[in-house]
């Protein structure tokens, strides 16, 4: 089975790095900092905070104290499950933990790896004005919306051309992010045989686009095309896509473990302070780059032959087929392009947040919200809807706790369905 071959290749690609780390120490660490109230100020490190690590059965392993940069670090004897406890009495006056109940955290660590354990401090609300905050959040929202849009266009076009709601689309995003991580960390060769052949992230990203597009094409060729040929019902195809989603997700968990990673490049950047908001160069890059790509996609849909064919098939498959459009070819293109875009979306998502096994699934739900909002099956709808969802999620943090911001996005999904089920740009269907 071809799928297995691809899977096998990916597994070897992903297995080797774990081995490459073996001679490293097992290290846990972190940084304790007060988040600056105003965007133009540096975060303030907190010195002298004590963190005690003990094993799961209560034996103390050691205590670390933060240095003048707020960093702490402790070498552990072995991998496994540990408990980290922050001594709250060592925190300066008036600087509480964001959640005092989480002064004790347990974490898992693999032998030979290092990981961060974070104790976020409470935010000290400064005299930041609402306008500045709203502008800032809107910019963040646009960035998030762009990423959602890029990943979701494929989802929407696949639905439009084949009628399939591809639940495994989130995993295509994770695939992109993970592949770029491996490439930028170990390089293509390093991924296969071990050693360090790291590729700069931008090049890795472009490579990822190609790999993800190929993966999308193969996914269609090996799975979906066969199922379509066999006349499988849409519902059973939907269940198959869910099966793939779980399978991929747990393969990644199996290979990478539950911890999140960051790209080696562009990890820390100084923010550029503009009057109403501040932004890092990588965020500027993300917004500009994704705007270019999205405009490119729009132009391609509008101008090129295959783009027009895509819209025609999405609009009315039978009509398109009878007017001589090769529907299978269009579907193949949609999968390839959709896979590539989802992969790039994954890289950008990993760049703004972190790379982890569940990231795609989290983004999938936001993609659903965006795509449904814009109108299932329409490319421009996906774009518009995703932008709205992105901005909405970020600005909602003005009012609701950050860990609940996605709840709001999912809630509007339900409200939209209640009021305008065909979405902003969708059209109602004819019956009979």
């Amino acid at each position: 089975m071809g799928t297995l071959v691809v899977l096998g290749a990916l597994l070897t690609l992903w297995t080797a790095p774990a081995g490459a780390q073996d001679d490293n120490e097992t290290v846990v660490g972190g940084t304790i900092r007060i988040r600056a109230a105003e965007p133009d100020k540096e975060n303030t490190p907190v010195e002298g905070v004590e963190i005690t690590i003990s094993t799961i059965d209560g034996t103390e392993v050691g205590t670390a104290v933060t240095d003048e940069t707020g960093a702490w670090r402790l070498v552990l004897p072995d991998g496994g499950e540990y408990i980290a406890e922050l001594d709250q009495s060592t925190l300066p006056e008036g600087v509480p933990l964001r959640d005092p109940e989480r002064a004790t955290l347990d974490f898992n660590i693999n032998a030979g790896s290092s990981r961060n354990v974070l104790f976020p401090l409470g935010e000290i609300v400064g005299p930041e004005s609402d306008t500045i905050q709203i502008v800032q959040l809107t910019i963040d929202g646009i960035k998030l919306g762009m990423i959602i849009a890029m990943s979701a266009i494929g989802l929407s076009l696949i639905y439009g051309t084949t009628g399939l709601v591809n639940f495994a689309h989130g995993e295509m995003v994770t695939f992109g992010a993970m592949t770029a991580y491996i490439l930028s960390q170990y390089g293509l060769l390093g991924g296969l045989i071990g050693g360090d052949f790291a590729i700069q992230l931008i090049i890795a990203g472009l490579l990822t686009f190609v790999l993800a597009a190929v993966a999308g094409g193969l996914f269609n060729e090996l799975v979906w095309k066969r199922l379509r040929k066999r006349g499988a019902s849409l519902i059973s195809m939907l269940v198959v896509s869910i099966g793939f989603s779980i399978m991929f997700r747990y393969i990644m968990l199996f290979q990478f473990g539950g911890r999140v990673r960051r790209y080696r490049d562009y990890q820390i950047q100084d923010t550029i302070d503009l009057k109403y908001f501040s932004i890092t160069p990588k965020d500027i890059f993300i917004i500009v780059f994704s705007t270019i790509i999205l405009i490119g996609v729009g132009l391609a849909l509008q101008r090129t032959r295959i783009g027009k064919a895509m819209r025609a098939v999405a609009d009315n498959r039978d009509l398109a087929e009878s007017s001589g459009i090769d529907v299978e070819k269009v579907i193949r293109t949609v999968w390839i392009a959709g896979g590539g875009l989802a992969g790039i979306g994954g890289v950008l998502f990993g760049l703004t947040e972190t790379v982890g096994w569940e990231m795609g699934f989290r983004l999938l739900l936001l993609m659903f919200a965006g795509v449904t909002l814009g109108g299932l099956g329409t490319a421009y709808g996906a774009l518009l809807g995703s932008l709205v969802v992105g901005v909405f999620i970020q600005t909602s943090t003005l009012f609701i706790p950050t860990d609940m911001k996605n709840v709001g996005a999912l809630l509007i999904l339900a409200v939209i369905l209640l009021i305008r089920p065909q979405g902003l740009l969708g059209r109602a269907e004819r019956i009979g």
Binding site: S396, F399, I400, M404, G408, L411, I412, V415, I416, I419, R420, R427, A428, R430, I431, G432
Partner: protein, 434 residues
Amino acid sequence: MTAEAAPEITARSVPALGKRFFARWLDELLLGSALLLAWLLFLYAVGDGRGTIDGALWGLAALVVVVAALYNQVWLTAAEGASVGKRTAGIKVLDRETGLPLGLGRTVARELLSPLAVTALKDELGQGLHDKVVGSVVVRDAWRQPELVAGDAAAARAALADVSPTPGSRKPDPILIAENISRTFGGLVAVDVDHLEIQRGVITALIGPNGAGKTTLFNLLTSFDQPTTGTKAFNGETIDDVPAHKIANYGMVRTFQLTKSLSKMSVLENMKLGATDQKGEGMLSALFTPLWSAQDKEIEERADELLARFNLDHMRDEFAGTLSGGQRKLLEMARALMVRPSLVMLDEPMAGVNPALKQSLLDHVKGLRDQGMTVVFVEHDMDMVQDISDWVVVMAEGRVIAEGPPTSISDNQAVVDAYLGAHHDSALDLGDDS
């Protein structure tokens, strides 16, 4: 359009008025603000506004708007639902003051809508339909279908002899009236019919080139789609706001262009499904077999009779999915008859049926009329239309362009033009079986 006075469709139910009032323009506005305010409500409920005065005010405002916006979806459904129980007895109980069905939300309705409602009720009483005023309620015999009167081709054609063969012409005894019905999809006008009447006890054919809007018109008439404008009446009563699933209870039943046989149910189960007002269809009563077993047996007998008539009795216990295309069409028609309809609307009943079965289908359609039912059907094959229909309505580009007895249609200039626009071969080739 001729200048003669159109018979007004005045007997409209009050929910219709209310719904139109809200639905046509207020809805958009209300739903828009509801979205916004519901979001604010959420923010204030879980966000930092919790416990503040303006949080509560916002919440209250949002609630009011949401309730108002959901008004026609929730409340009207509830009010209508209350009258469903009475429907089985063949009567509709209305509040005398408001003319609303007695039931949920009556008080709210009275406050909101009484000025409109009283006029509407006056109109209705003026019509002199089977109304009886008892104390503070009106018992209205609205659901009783007229008895079916057996007919035949001669009688049907005779009844239409005096009708002028012009689009939108008045019929002596219309069972279905559509007035100013239009439907637009985006910018595209799919249907725009000024006036259309369907004569009772007659077979009416609906023809027209592909994309003429025939199926869309079917959907609009049977409430499977909502018209952008316009109103329609069945047996003298508006059915504008009757949802699709209630249309069958009025005695109007339709079939579909793509046959909808329920594949993984047996032929018999398909038939039994068609019977309306089954006692065992409630979730709770379903648990008590004695409540419904007797009725179920009756239904089964009726189903068996119909199956025998349609030559499907040998397939009785097979899955409907194993039937041939023609047999499915037969099954769909037979199943529709389980509803005991007075109007049967067939969307391309002959499409994809082999010639042997076609004749038998034709005979069945004629048989429906001879039992007193009214038939409307969409068809492409002109020979067939000539053979079985008593009246032909021609549609093109969403409009009714011609009407008349079948003999007069093929030399009607408008019809020839319409078809010539679509096909360049010959004026009389009305076939289009794609």
